[in-house]
């Protein structure tokens, strides 16, 4: 079912500022339908900013965000969720005093999606049985790994065509990291297009069909995952080998 082909998302010359401080300087990237694309780069490069701009929580000052031949740049986040784009944000960003199930429900907030809520929650529980056990527990009391599952589950609720994951393994134990990456692989195998930001460069590059290196708000290098992995500059600067 892993059909590929055709560009699902194309970002062109994206510029974003926080107040007077510009952090993205003409970022362009594209994600092919059915594939996994990755953005790597050091702290503060602008990776999260890019994902937040694609999801609409941050307004771009200029540039285009073309999803299935439609420019989304002027649409609010709720319109982008309606188009089945979802972001699993850095730091998970759950609602700590809502139950696991309420957190999941809220993932399908746009009115047209509400009628599928039950079926989609069932799908998430099937993928993460541990969430089902803890469905009535407050999200703030979950372990880090469980919170990440809950955040991914919430991101799956709008039945995403494009799922963006921002550092999904940040702060997790190594065993949990493997587990989460396995989940991401499963989701990808179900045909969901993925844009991944990961600080675990090695993992991310092995994992992705295509990858972008971002440095101080610009894309400085791009290519198939393996080719970046074997790139000398990437090895020296990001993989700690010389």
């Amino acid at each position: 079912m892993n059909q590929t082909g055709g560009t699902l998302l194309r970002v062109q010359n994206l510029e974003v500022s926080y107040g007077a401080v510009q952090v993205l300087w003409g970022v362009s990237l594209s994600v092919v339908r059915g594939q996994v694309a990755a953005i790597i780069g050091s702290n503060g490069a602008g990776k999260s900013t890019t994902l937040n701009a694609i999801s609409g929580v941050l307004k771009a000052t200029s540039g285009r965000i073309v999803f299935k031949n439609e420019d989304l740049a002027s649409l609010p986040p709720r319109e982008r969720v309606r188009r089945h784009i979802s972001l699993v944000p850095e730091g998970r960003q759950l609602w700590p005093k809502m139950t696991v199930e309420e957190n999941l429900m809220m993932g399908a907030f746009p009115p047209k999606m509400r009628k599928n809520v039950k079926a989609n929650i069932a799908r998430v529980y099937e993928m993460f049985p541990r969430l089902k056990e803890r469905r009535s527990q407050l999200a703030g009391t979950l372990s880090g790994g469980e919170q990440q599952m809950c955040a991914i589950g919430r991101g799956l609720m709008p039945q995403p065509e494009l799922l963006m994951l921002d550092e999904p393994t940040l702060g997790l134990a190594p065993k949990m990291v493997d587990e989460i990456f396995q989940f991401v692989r499963d989701i990808s195998n179900q045909g969901v297009t993925i844009l991944l930001v990961a600080q675990n460069v090695n993992y991310a590059l092995q994992f992705s069909h295509y990858a972008y290196l971002m440095e101080t708000g610009k894309i400085t290098l791009e290519g198939p995952g393996e080719s970046l992995l074997s790139n000398q500059y990437v090895q020296e600067a990001y993989l700690g080998s010389s």
């Binding site: 709720r78 944000p89 960003q93 609602w95 993932g107």
Partner: protein
């Protein structure tokens, strides 16, 4: 003090707590969703009281019913104020100076409108019930208050609107990310908050006399309750209201009634110094120690 006196005081504290909770819960919802300290709350309470008075005088509508009717009217007024004014405020995760100034200005406007329309004489709502021995007014006020609080709790937990309110309160970024329509939710939430102010004003109006400055001492009490209860939880408000009501009620055993407001202020100062996280943080601390 006999056991009967004690019971009497306890009951009146409980009855008072109900209305205190109603008057504070609106501020809490508004603060939680919009991070705006509603300094105009007292103004809307005043409108609620006069609304109940007018309905009572003109149409002989029972003041408790009139107070309940003040809720929808003030709700729409609040939603309109949000649409016209508050929507334009810059967004922030903390109270901003422009929002404080705007709300303070709004309070002055409402207050002066009150003087313009109703003059500055004291008014009160007298019904046969007011003077009855077993204060049925207080009981009715309490039942109306608790009923409305329960209704709010149900809305917050079992409707999409309620969940979007809690989502905005607990993590605004995540709420936006999942598609919560902030302007609309905040508008309705502000309306609800103002509705509760109107209800509280109407209910208080059937207990105490009032003039267009009505609500000022209650605003301070609402601050105390919110600080005690923690800024963003509804059950916290109920507990804060109960604590303040108990302290105020039992303090008349030791200090003259005229000093009640000083007691509120003292409690506010104490709470800010000792319990910046509200009573919830105290409970958490106790639990950690135990």
């Amino acid at each position: 003090m006999t056991l009967i006196d004690f019971t009497n005081l306890l009951v009146s504290a409980l009855l008072l707590a109900g209305i205190y909770a109603v008057m504070s819960v609106g501020m809490t919802v508004i603060y939680g969703v919009m991070k705006i300290v509603n300094l105009a709350h007292a103004g809307f309470m005043m409108l609620g009281a006069y609304f109940a008075l007018e309905l009572f005088q003109r149409f002989r509508i029972d003041p408790i019913i009139a107070a309940l009717l003040a809720f929808p009217v003030l709700f729409f007024l609040g939603a309109a104020v949000h649409w016209v004014l508050l929507r334009r405020l810059p967004r922030s995760d903390e109270p901003t100076l422009p929002s404080l100034l705007l709300m303070f200005g709004l309070w002055l406007v409402l207050q002066n409108l009150g003087y313009l329309i109703w003059g500055n004489t004291d008014r009160s709502i007298f019904t046969p019930r007011t003077l009855s021995v077993v204060s049925t007014v207080r009981l009715a006020v309490f039942i109306a208050a608790v009923g409305c609080l329960l209704l709010l709790e149900v809305i917050l937990h079992y409707t999409w609107f309620g969940r979007s309110v809690r989502a905005l309160i607990q993590n605004r970024y995540a709420a936006l990310l999942t598609g919560v329509y902030e302007d609309r939710t905040a508008g309705i939430a502000f309306g609800l908050g103002i509705g509760f102010a109107g209800l509280a004003g109407g209910l208080l109006g059937s207990l105490y006399s009032f003039d267009p400055d009505f609500g000022r001492p209650f605003l301070i009490r609402a601050f105390v309750i919110i600080v005690l209860g923690g800024l963003e939880s509804i059950s916290g408000v109920a507990i804060g209201a109960l604590v303040l009501a108990l302290v105020e009620t039992f303090s008349i055993l030791f200090v003259p009634a005229g000093y009640q407001l000083a007691i509120s202020f003292g409690l506010l100062a104490l709470a800010l110094i000792v319990l910046p996280g509200g009573l919830a943080s105290l409970l958490a601390k106790v639990r950690r120690v135990a």
